[in-house]
Structure formats: C-alpha cells, structure tokens
Amino acid sequence: MTTIQKQDHNPIAHLTAEDIANLGRELDALREKVIASRGASDAAYIRRVIKTQRVLEMGGRAVLLASRYKPAWFVGTAALSVAKILENMEIGHNVMHGQWDWMRDPKIHSTTWEWDHASPAEQWKHSHNELHHTYTNVLGKDNDLGYGIMRVDEGQRWHPAHLGQPLWNLINAIFFQYGIAAYDLELGKNLATRKRRQNPAFKARLSATLRKVRRQATKDYVVHPLLSGPSAPTTLAANLTANLIRNLWTHSVIMCGHFPEGVETFERTSIEGETRGEWYLRQMLGSANISGGPLMHLMTGNLSFQVEHHLFPDLPSNRYQEIAPHVRDLFERYGLTYTTGSLPKQVVSAWRKVIRLALPNDFLAKAPASAPPARPAARREVAEPARVAVAGS
C-alpha cells in the first residue's frame, strides 16, 4: 500500500523485482568497495575534525572570557557556534551511527560517545539510528516525519491542530535540541496516560534526560559565565546565541533531508516482507540532498548527502562525496529521481510543505494559483515495494 493511492504516477512502476534485486546488489558492491578501502587517511580525517572542533571550542570559550568587548563577543560566539555545529553534525551524529567503530578507538566509538546536546546518546541512538533509519518515511513508524507534531505528507490525516504547525515548526527550530530530547522520550505518547507516566522505564529515561539537560545548561549558562567574571552576562548571551544558531542550523539541515517536495513516503504495510533491495529503494526515494561545496558538506555533517547517508548510514561520512556520483548514476540507470537542491531552495521547499499541509489536502487545490510548482512530483503515486516483493517471491 502506498500513502497516496489516488496518485497517477508510481515512480517505481517500471522496475521489476529482479531490477530491484540488482539495484540492491549494485549498492552492496558499492558499500563493500568503500569498506575495503577504509584506512589511515579516513582515521586521520575524523581525528582532524575532532581536533579542529576542540580547538575552536576552547578558543571560542577563551575569547568569550572577555565577551564584554564587542569584537570578542562576536569572534567567540562565532567560534563556539561553529564548534557546536561540528560537534553535533560531523562528529556526534556520525560517530553515534558507528561510522568510525571500525577504528576500534574506544574514544571515537558509537558505544561510548556522548554529544553536546540535550538528548542523551543512548536515547538518540534508539530513536534515530534504530527507528528512523530502519523505518525511514514509513507513516506511523518513522516519527521523524513531522516529529509527531506536524503533518508533512498528504498521507497523514489532517487535524485542526495542524493549522498551527508553521508556528510549531518555528518554535521547534529555536529550541531544537530540547525538541529532539522530548521527541526521543516520545513525550507526547508517554505523558498521555497515567500508566505510561508511571512506567519505570520511561521514568528512568526521563531522569537521564533531565540530568543531561541540567549538566548541559549548567555548563553553558552557569559555569562559563561565572568563569568570565565581569563578562558573565555577555558570555551567557553568547552561549545562548551559539546554541540558538546551532539549533536553527541543524533544524534547517534536517528538514532538508526528508521534508522537501519530491520525497516519497510509505504506508506501514508496504514494508512487510521488504527485501534488502526494496529497503535501499525506500531510502533512495525517501531522502533529499543539499548541493554545495566542501564547507557545506562539513557543516551539515555530510547530511548534504542524505541519500547516500540513508543508503549506508554506517559508512564514514567523508566518503559519501566520492560515492555520490555512483549513486546518482544508479538513480539514472534505474529511472529514479535524485532529489537535490541548494540549501535555501530545499529549506523553502520544506517550509512550504509545512505551511501547505497545515491545511487539508484539497484546500489549495481549489486555489491553483498558490500551488507550488514542485507539486506534481510530490503528487506522484508512491512506490509499492511490498507488492513487488510478493510478486517476486
């Protein structure tokens, strides 16, 4: 079952079960090629990024000791913002994915890494690595689709509460790290009933998150301002600003991964008995890239290669760029659409969707002038992998 049964175009209608199996084999081979060539230069890369991040963070915080002087405030805030973005994106997110586990360095390992973020690593790994990456874009299973508070696909049922979602999305962007922490806790679901609130497992997770939030806040909003002495108020403002910039940036990048027009979603039943090839196919159709230069790739933690990342979440992030042309070639040969665009274009596209879907599906259809041009792509009939699997088996 696809989400949008009524649509007139199925993007994988032309693929046979054998095609999909071949696609899977080609992607497996691509993955093996990267794994076989992982080595010292990759290890040097991540260590260089980690070192750069720590120098930036130490430098930024040192400069902020004198934050009551305006130039120091700007330089320090900029350095700290960049350091926090690097830590969350290119380092934390990717290390926690196990991308660097092969180095067997216990300090750069998915089982030991803790990141500069409100959500504890353990909970993030469960909701992100396990749920989101396994059930990517499956309605009702992948809570990343609108984070449980928004409607980002026509297939999600409209509710009057969605009218406020442009505002929710803005608030979520501003407080993104807390939004993620709440999301990892599944607060909406777990606070709903008394029984769930009293569940010991939930209470343990909640207190772990609160501990982490407290430690993080103490660091940024108490300890470092105190260390700044007379610059305490301006350092506090600087740290708030750095966290805000990090929040807005990561929110934008992550919105670009799965919300822009052209990204497909899938019905819960469509993944029953899914083959490896079909899983790959779902990742290909369910993700979107951001085009740009090396700095863009670094600052997005290479989530600018969201498609490649979703195909191979555990390959070192610095290698996505080199496999991207091969992946793109696969899209072309198998007649699929590689969704990509510049950051502003994709951000606008994602926001547009959030705003459009705040209203019921047919609302804007009645006012064609305001319909976005990318609409036909989104309206296409979506993949039906399960039926392909049954036909093939």
């Binding site: 180095m103 067997r104 790994k125 396994t134 660091k219």
Partner: protein
C-alpha cells in the same frame, strides 16, 4: 580540594572530560591508558627492529622481563599486541620493545617496516612475573629461541651484574638471525655469561637431552625459558621429572592463531550461557534463543544498537565474510546482528 576543583572543571567540559581537551594540547595525555611516542627505530636483524618509546603520563614503570600490551593504529584500525620489554628501567624513562616481523603479522610487520619516529602508541601497564627475584640466584640458566630472547635480554641488561654464573642457550635459524647477536657475544667475551648458540637451520631444534649434555647441572639452576610451546612443554616435563619443577619459569608467547571455522561454541561470559551456533546464525539470534538479554536494534547491521565486545575467538561478518579475531584483553566491539561464530568465541555480555 583537588577533587572539588576537578569536578568544577568537569562541569565546564561536559559531556567530554578535561583530558579530552588536554589531549589536543598534549597528545601523550588523555585516555584511560597511558600513551607513548616512538622516539627511535633501530633495525636488529633482517626482520626485527627495536622501538624506543617514551611513555607519557600515567606509565607506572616496569621490571625487566615483563611485557607490555601495545596498541597501534594500523591502516586506521587500533590493534593491540603484547611485546616483552627489552630495556631495563632507565633513568630517562624510555622503554624499548623488540619486534620480529612474522609472516602475515599485521602489527609486527607494521612496527618493523612502517612505524616511524613520532608515531603515537597506546600502552597498558607492564605485566608478567617472568622476572628476576630480588635475591639473585647463585646459578642461572636462560633457554630461549627466536624472539624468546626478548624478555631475557631485558633481564640480562638489568641484572647481569648481579648474577655470577649465567648460562644462556639460545636457538635461532642462523647466526645472522640472532637478535642482539653482537651484544650477547660481547657479553660472553667479557665473561658476563656463557653463551651457547644453536643454529637450528643446520643443527635442528634442541632437545632437553641435548640441553642436559650442554649444561649438565641444568635442573639445579634457576631457569627461565621462553620460546615455542613444544620446547617449553619438554622442559617442563624434564624439570618436573627431576623434582625441580619450582626452578623453572616459562613465558609463553600467546598463540596468535585462533581456530577459525564455520560456527562454533559461543560463550556469553557475563550471562553464564554457552551455546552451539552454526556459521549462518547471528550471535544476536543465538544469544536471544538462549535467553541472553542481548541489546538489539535494527537487526540488519545499520544501527549499531547491538554492539557488544568480542572478548576472545573469531566471528564472521555475515555480509561480507570478513573475520574478526580477538585474543584475551582485546575486547573488540562487534555487531552481533550481522556476525556469526567462526570458531569458539566469548562475548562480553
């Protein structure tokens, strides 16, 4: 006071620890294990080299004859091996290990042929009781073969002065293969010890009987032996038969070869569960089927939610057949959902 100051610094660095930042300024600091830097590499024979290492903070020193676990990054992957320390404790604090490159030895080949001055290495504290007693024995015998000379040379360099009557019987294929050959011969010429070289390429391997002929009072000497397991086993029998078992100390270099097969017995060490598994069933499935509380996630090798340490043995990656092997002390994390037993293995859960 100090711990309070430390706690405050930790509040400023969370979620990292202060040493994570120190490490940026001084790579020899940081981490639970001490670290060291290679400050010189000296070739010994065609296939052996001595590495001079300057340990950083936290290195507690060693006694001659002990070994150290050394971690090096080879092609980006942290690999740990044990090597005997060949230096006596030195005033300048440096230590040496002497490594013989074994065929297909990832780490030994790297250390002998590729390790450069400046390379950072990871260390464990020195271990082992293959050492000289504080009260030096009146008569000592060292029986060594190949790189088995390495712990003994450490003792000779440290305690040779305190030993009056020392015999060293050392086996190597040819004269030029003797590691520390010139040094040992020089020591013998100066009367520091009686050296018997056995060149096995022409004379064959030494037997306990031949040894008894060469050193008639062998079982009455305090004896230290290091070499192949069959030599050590034969010596053990001889000394025990003579009722002098307490005079023999042996040091075994752990066999590097682990039985690699299809499937095997999986031990879930902390759960006290043992199960037989075939080569196609994941460790995760095996554990779960036997009631072990396994961490798990996507069950397809992408989320790393199921990673637990492989303490010993071999596992095979079901996706590409790659075999990962751990020996005691390694604790290599493996993805249990896509790994199967490749011979007996022990997991840390």
């Amino acid at each position: 006071m100090r711990s309070r100051a430390r706690r405050f610094v930790e509040l400023a660095t969370t979620p990292l620890v202060p040493s994570d930042f120190w490490e940026v300024l001084d790579p020899l600091r940081g981490g639970a294990n001490p670290r060291g830097r290679i400050v010189a590499v000296r070739p010994e024979t065609r296939d052996a080299a001595t590495l001079v290492i300057r340990p950083g903070r936290g290195w507690a020193g060693h006694t001659a004859g002990q070994y150290v676990r050394l971690g090096v990054d080879v092609d980006g992957v942290r690999q740990w091996r044990s090597y005997s320390l060949t230096s006596p404790p030195r005033p300048d604090g440096t230590i040496t290990v002497t490594v013989k490159a074994v065929p297909d030895g990832v780490v030994s080949s790297f250390l002998v042929r590729r390790a450069a001055v400046g390379t950072l290495v990871h260390l464990d504290q020195a271990q082992g009781d293959f050492t000289l007693p504080l009260v030096r024995p009146a008569k000592a015998l060292f029986v060594t073969a190949g790189s088995g000379i390495t712990p003994v040379v450490g003792m000779l360099r440290d305690g040779a002065g305190g030993l009056d009557d020392v015999v060293l019987v050392h086996s190597a294929p040819r004269r030029e293969d003797v590691i520390f050959g010139a040094e040992l011969r020089g020591l013998a010429e100066r009367g520091g010890l009686r050296l018997v070289e056995r060149h096995t390429a022409t004379e064959g391997r030494i037997t306990p009987e031949q040894l008894a002929e060469l050193v008639p009072d062998m079982t009455s000497r305090q004896t230290w032996a290091c070499g192949p397991n069959d030599l050590l086993d034969a010596l053990r029998e001889t000394y025990d038969a003579a009722g002098r078992g307490d005079r023999l100390r042996t040091e075994r270099f752990r066999p590097a070869v682990v039985a690699v097969g299809e499937g095997g017995t999986v031990t879930f060490a902390d759960s006290a569960v043992t199960a037989d598994a075939d080569g196609a069933t994941s460790l995760l499935d095996t554990g779960e089927a036997n009631g072990v509380l396994m961490p798990s996630g996507c069950r397809m090798g992408i989320c790393f939610g199921c990673v637990i340490p492989l303490r010993e043995g071999s596992v095979r990656d079901l996706r590409n057949g790659a075999v990962t092997t751990a020996v005691a002390g390694d604790d290599i994390p493996v993805q249990t959902c896509v790994s199967a037993a490749a011979g007996p293995c022990r997991l840390g859960i």
